[in-house]
Amino acid sequence: MITRVVRQRPVAAGVVLAGGSGTRVGSELNKVYLPLAGRRLVSWSIEAFDRVPEIGVLVLVTRPQDGELVDWVLDREITRRNVEVVHGGDARQTSELAALRHLAGRIDAGLIDTVLIHDAARPLISPGLVGGVLHAAREHGGAIPGLPTEDLATVSADGSRLTGAAPGNLVSVQTPQGFYAEPLLAAYEQAARLEFSGTDTASCMEQFSDTPVRWVHGEQRNFKITYPHDLVLAEHILASSDYQVQ
């Protein structure tokens, strides 16, 4: 008898960080569960990832204390049934590491080739940008979205005076940030051993990997919810697209 072994084509994994850094203790809501145009912030991001066929695995990194909210969102707002929930740490870095360790078996087995890590506080991410970052990451090893920024200036060390225009070719970095899965996992394990904590995924990769990182053009609408006014703007944008992920 001849047994045919069908090798499964590797998929990409999307990781949505919903740890909510900056959230105070007490009765306050984690920002990523705020209502926005009829859904919670985090579910807009999950929906965008779900619309990209190459994203075969979707991981949501949460805090244990948000358990009920997470269940509610997955039940009421997410059509995809197999979102994998992982409990993260206190910092972004440990949350990313928790997600990567959750995926480690499948990364080692070659079932996941690329990982995209996204901040849930950026709810207006489009499937087009997710796909663009994914394709660039698969082609070059790493990809981050960014927007060219020309209106920056530098200030003196004490912050008292302007010292001139900022150097050219600056981009303001967004998420999702995508990388080959194996070097990404290795970089985060090494960072954990050395107790390194970076500002984002790219900073950890710069420190512990020589994987080339390309930037792809980000989107104006992919801003981070920081000020109350951002919620109003995001609501307007979603209303103008008939409350659909675009």
């Binding site: 809501l29 920081t226 000020y227 109350p228 006014h229 409350y243």
Partner: protein, 111 residues
């Protein structure tokens, strides 16, 4: 309580602090935001949008109810009497919030 109120940490546009903000919603619309540190308040006149939103919510309610019923028939059926009883009060509370915010916005415009 007027409408649905959430407390969350955001950066205040006036005092610049990462502080607790109280956000009040009417349906899908954010109506007011207040910084609990400095009292800075954003209010919106959303009357027209609220009417359109309410119409959309009413029209899509049967589909949403059916989806929930299919997922959890027993628990959803059990929760229905309470939900039916409280819904008119929720809408009334949203209306109060929308009208009060609209009146505040108009008053500020005329000052």
């Amino acid at each position: 309580m007027v409408g649905a109120v959430e407390q969350v940490t955001l950066t205040c546009q006036r005092c610049g602090a990462d502080s607790t903000h109280e956000l009040a919603y009417a349906g899908r619309l954010l109506v007011t935001s207040t910084c609990t540190e400095c009292g800075h308040t954003i209010e919106r006149d959303v009357r027209d949008r609220y009417v359109a939103d309410l119409r959309h919510r009413v029209a899509s309610k049967p589909r949403r109810m059916l989806r929930r019923f299919r997922r959890h028939p027993v628990s959803y059926a059990c929760s229905l009497p309470r939900a039916v009883a409280s819904k008119p009060l929720d809408v009334l509370s949203e209306l109060r919030l929308v009208l009060r915010a609209a009146s505040d916005v108009q008053r500020k415009d005329t000052e």
